[in-house]
């Protein structure tokens, strides 16, 4: 007997979800890839470069994104959310809410005329609010699909019933203010959860003054500063005076490894900060970079070598000690860090032009799945060893940071793992 394999649902269009979808699709399995934002790409898209190879993140990711869009076995559902899941392994009934873009996806050619003309400016999420986008927008130029979306909350037509400029300028008449949410019902064999993470609110570590002091940044903001497609076009400049910093401090384990906020280690921040310090040195050769750390977790392939390079080739300073507080010099907006250098046992203060906090992460899960969680806030696994991606619900797999903080290679490996497991359920033992 032979029958067509059943489809698989992948939730989350970050690198983990993309890889799982591609693996499954390549195996001849029909995949629904659901992403809640208007484009796939996830957090990796926001990165400038990746450690330890310093590959341009977008350059290695966009071909995969394009591959997803082109793959005949992948049905991409962006701007959509899973709202209901019933059934069990091999036979899940899933309801997906496709939010209205107010732009006809079939007609939109992503030309960008509408968002050049749109009069409503909104803080740009892609650049963490450090720049502005319009109410009709494409989240970033390489978005997949490259289709405009109207952000209803900020659209002048939706809030004040006038404007309609985008409608007038659209060359393909793709704007449709009357679009309604759509519910899509699917029957899938298996579900791969690749919903990723969010950063923990950095103001929980109040001693570092994020949000209070202008020149304190979080690492993802710094990543955008480094990026040529970022708000400053790749210039590292301070929020307070638009000047290049002369020295930058990177503080590790902010909202990580802290039992009062988040006891987990976020796994990738150490290397991300090492990368940031190297990139900062490349952008501004005379900048001084200091990384405040407790344990420098350079555990992956090539990581220790990368850390050594930062130390030896780039002269990045590594200071072992968790800073106690940051204070701001009112006139210069410089930042004074108080810390103990645990190698000399001296308590010191040092002044920096810019401070970057390596903020910890916490997972995001689709509520509709009601995944049982462990004490550490991450999803509970049925048999961590024999089936490292299987959740307590048979047929539902988690990958990427949703399954524990991890770096990109480990996420990609897990995606492959989940893909074959889902594939087995979808295709059975038949071929």
């Amino acid at each position: 007997m032979s029958y067509l394999p059943k489809p698989v649902l992948v939730i989350g269009g970050g690198i983990a979800g993309i890889q799982a979808a591609l693996d499954l699709a390549d195996q001849g399995i029909q995949v629904y890839l659901v992403e809640k934002t208007p484009s796939i790409g996830g957090k990796m898209m926001q990165l400038d470069k990746t450690f330890p190879t310093l590959d341009c993140s977008a350059c290695i990711l966009t071909p995969k994104m394009v591959a997803v869009a082109r793959h005949p076995n992948i049905k991409l559902l962006t701007y959509s959310e899973v709202i209901e899941v019933t059934g069990s392994a091999g036979n899940f009934n899933v309801k997906i809410l496709k939010k209205p873009r107010y732009v006809d996806e079939e007609k939109c050619i992503g030309c960008g005329i509408c968002f050049n003309k749109c009069p409503s400016k909104v803080p740009d999420e892609f650049n963490l609010g450090m720049s502005q986008r319009r109410a009709i927008y494409v989240p970033f130029p390489q978005a997949v699909p490259l289709k405009a979306t109207i952000d209803k909350e900020h659209c002048i037509y939706f809030t004040k019933q006038r404007c309609r400029v985008c409608e007038k300028v659209c060359p393909t008449k793709a704007i449709n203010y009357e679009q309604k949410p759509e519910t899509i019902e699917l029957n899938v064999a298996s579900i791969v959860v690749a919903t990723g993470y969010q950063l923990i609110d950095p103001t929980l570590a109040a001693q570092y003054g994020y949000g209070k002091y202008q020149n304190v940044y979080i690492s993802l903001e710094f990543e955008r500063l480094l990026s040529s497609t970022g708000p400053t076009g790749g210039e590292i400049v301070r929020r307070s005076d638009n000047k290049h910093p002369k020295n930058i401090a990177f503080i590790q384990c902010v909202c990580s490894r802290d039992v009062k906020i988040n006891p987990n280690c976020s796994a990738f921040c150490c290397m991300a900060s090492v990368k940031h310090s190297i990139l900062a040195k490349e952008h501004l050769p005379n900048v001084d970079c200091t990384i405040f750390y407790m344990d420098l977790r350079a555990f992956g392939k090539g990581y220790q070598e990368f850390y050594n390079r930062a130390m030896r080739e780039f002269g990045v300073k590594f200071m072992r000690g968790k800073p106690a507080k940051i204070e701001e010099e009112p006139e210069t907006k410089n930042l004074i860090i108080t810390y103990e250098d645990t190698f000399t046992g001296l308590k010191k203060t040092m002044t920096f032009d810019m401070v970057v906090l390596a903020v910890g992460v916490k997972p995001i899960y689709p509520e509709a799945l009601k995944l049982p969680l462990s004490e550490d806030g991450y999803v509970q696994l049925k048999n961590q060893y024999l089936d490292p991606v299987l959740t307590m619900i048979d047929g539902v797999y988690t990958v990427g940071v949703a399954a524990g903080a991890k770096d990109i290679p480990d996420s990609v490996v897990q995606s492959g793992n989940a893909a074959i497991k889902a594939s087995i359920l979808a295709g059975g033992a038949q071929k």
Partner: protein, 372 residues
């Protein structure tokens, strides 16, 4: 080079150091501490010494006496290892180490022993009063007749000298432990410096305890400390050197300068002890969050001493002879163990150790300066 003693520092846990072995050595506590100076690296280093088994380092350190437990370090500790309570436990630990009699150890490590010691001392005082008290005049209050001045004074002074002797010898042991260089070798400073620094440091800090103010938000605490201290000092002056004028057969007079001092001292002690007890029950301040049994004993005895003192005064003023004598006996039976046990062996001793720690620290610095 230090040879480690691979024993678990479990005694510190008994002395109140909660969770300190969780420490992962980040240095946040040292950095946040408002009183650590550039070179001083506590609490972190002290935790490390304790965990690794470097007892000599702890014994030779004066740092524990510099901490007044503002709790900043415990609030921000990423592992919630409570360095503040660790420092507190170190002070208890050092108190047991400075004391050569072993009483201190007994009291700190065993609640039972502590209670028994108090009962025994109270019983001895009780028996002495029973055996040596004067005639009991029942018609009017004649306190001096009941407790003949000379006997009482001799008793008081004996206790005073013995205690002072023990305390001084403990201080000398502290000096021996502390006056060592990094390698554990003993160090000496010229006598001239010793005298000069003593005069410069010890009286000032003993009398003002001004160091507390360096801690964060500790103004109130400092005042409370001073209130108890001076209340105590006043009653000490009244009832030891001035015993002749306070323990008389004359009725109690409110306008008498001595009475005013007495009233001040009782109010101060009552107020101070109540605040402290309330604070410890409600855990209003970090330092009051983890109370050791000796802390409770100290406060209870202080309160009881004060209350029995007040009652004695009241009975005496209103002319109830028998209640006065009984209350006075009780007062002595509580005050004596309080003094005998707390002053050299337990909590009271920090009044001496703290200023002396500053003094020894200064001597050490002089030594190091001369080395340089």
């Amino acid at each position: 080079m230090t040879y480690l003693v691979p024993q678990h520092p479990l005694q510190l846990v008994e002395l109140g150091a909660e969770r300190f072995s969780r420490c992962f050595n980040c240095g946040n506590c040292t950095a946040i501490c408002p009183i650590t100076k550039e070179k001083a690296s506590y609490p972190r280093k002290l935790i490390r010494y304790s965990l690794l088994g470097m007892e000599d380092k702890i014994l030779s350190s004066t740092d524990p006496w510099l901490c007044y437990y503002c709790g900043e370090c415990s609030d921000q500790c990423p592992r919630d290892a409570n360095p503040g309570s660790f420092m507190m436990s170190l002070r208890r630990y050092l108190t047991t180490k400075y004391d050569w009699t072993g009483f201190s150890k007994l009291m700190y490590y065993s609640k039972k022993a502590e209670v028994i010691a108090i009962i025994v001392v109270a019983a001895i005082v009780g028996s002495i009063i029973y055996l040596l008290h004067g005639p009991i005049v029942e018609t009017r209050v004649e306190l001096e007749t009941f407790a003949p001045y000379l006997t009482t004074e001799i008793g008081a002074l004996t206790v005073l000298f013995v205690l002072a002797g023990i305390l001084l010898s403990n201080l000398y042991r502290m000096y021996r432990f502390v006056m060592r260089d990094e390698n554990g070798n003993r160090i000496r400073v010229p006598l001239g410096f010793m005298i000069r620094d003593f005069i410069r440091i010890v009286p000032l800090h003993f009398l003002t305890q001004i160091k507390i103010k360096e801690c964060k938000d500790r103004q109130k605490n400092w005042i409370n400390h001073l209130i108890i201290f001076y209340g105590y000092a006043a009653s000490f002056i009244l009832f030891v050197p001035l015993l002749k004028f306070t323990q008389t057969n004359d009725p109690f007079l409110f306008v008498n300068p001595l009475s005013i001092l007495g009233i001040f001292s009782t109010i101060a002690l009552l107020y101070g002890a109540s605040i402290a007890i309330y604070g410890r029950v409600k855990k209003t301040q970090p330092m009051w969050k983890d109370s050791h049994s000796t802390d409770w004993m100290f406060l209870i005895l202080l309160l009881l001493t004060t209350i029995t003192g007040i009652l004695t005064g009241i009975f005496r003023t209103f002319g109830f002879p028998l209640p006065t004598y009984i209350m006075y006996s009780l007062h002595l039976m509580i005050a004596a163990p309080f003094l005998i046990l707390e002053v050299p062996f337990a909590k009271w001793s920090h009044l001496a150790y703290r200023p002396f720690a500053l003094y020894f620290e200064s001597l050490k610095e002089r030594y190091l300066a001369s080395k340089r």
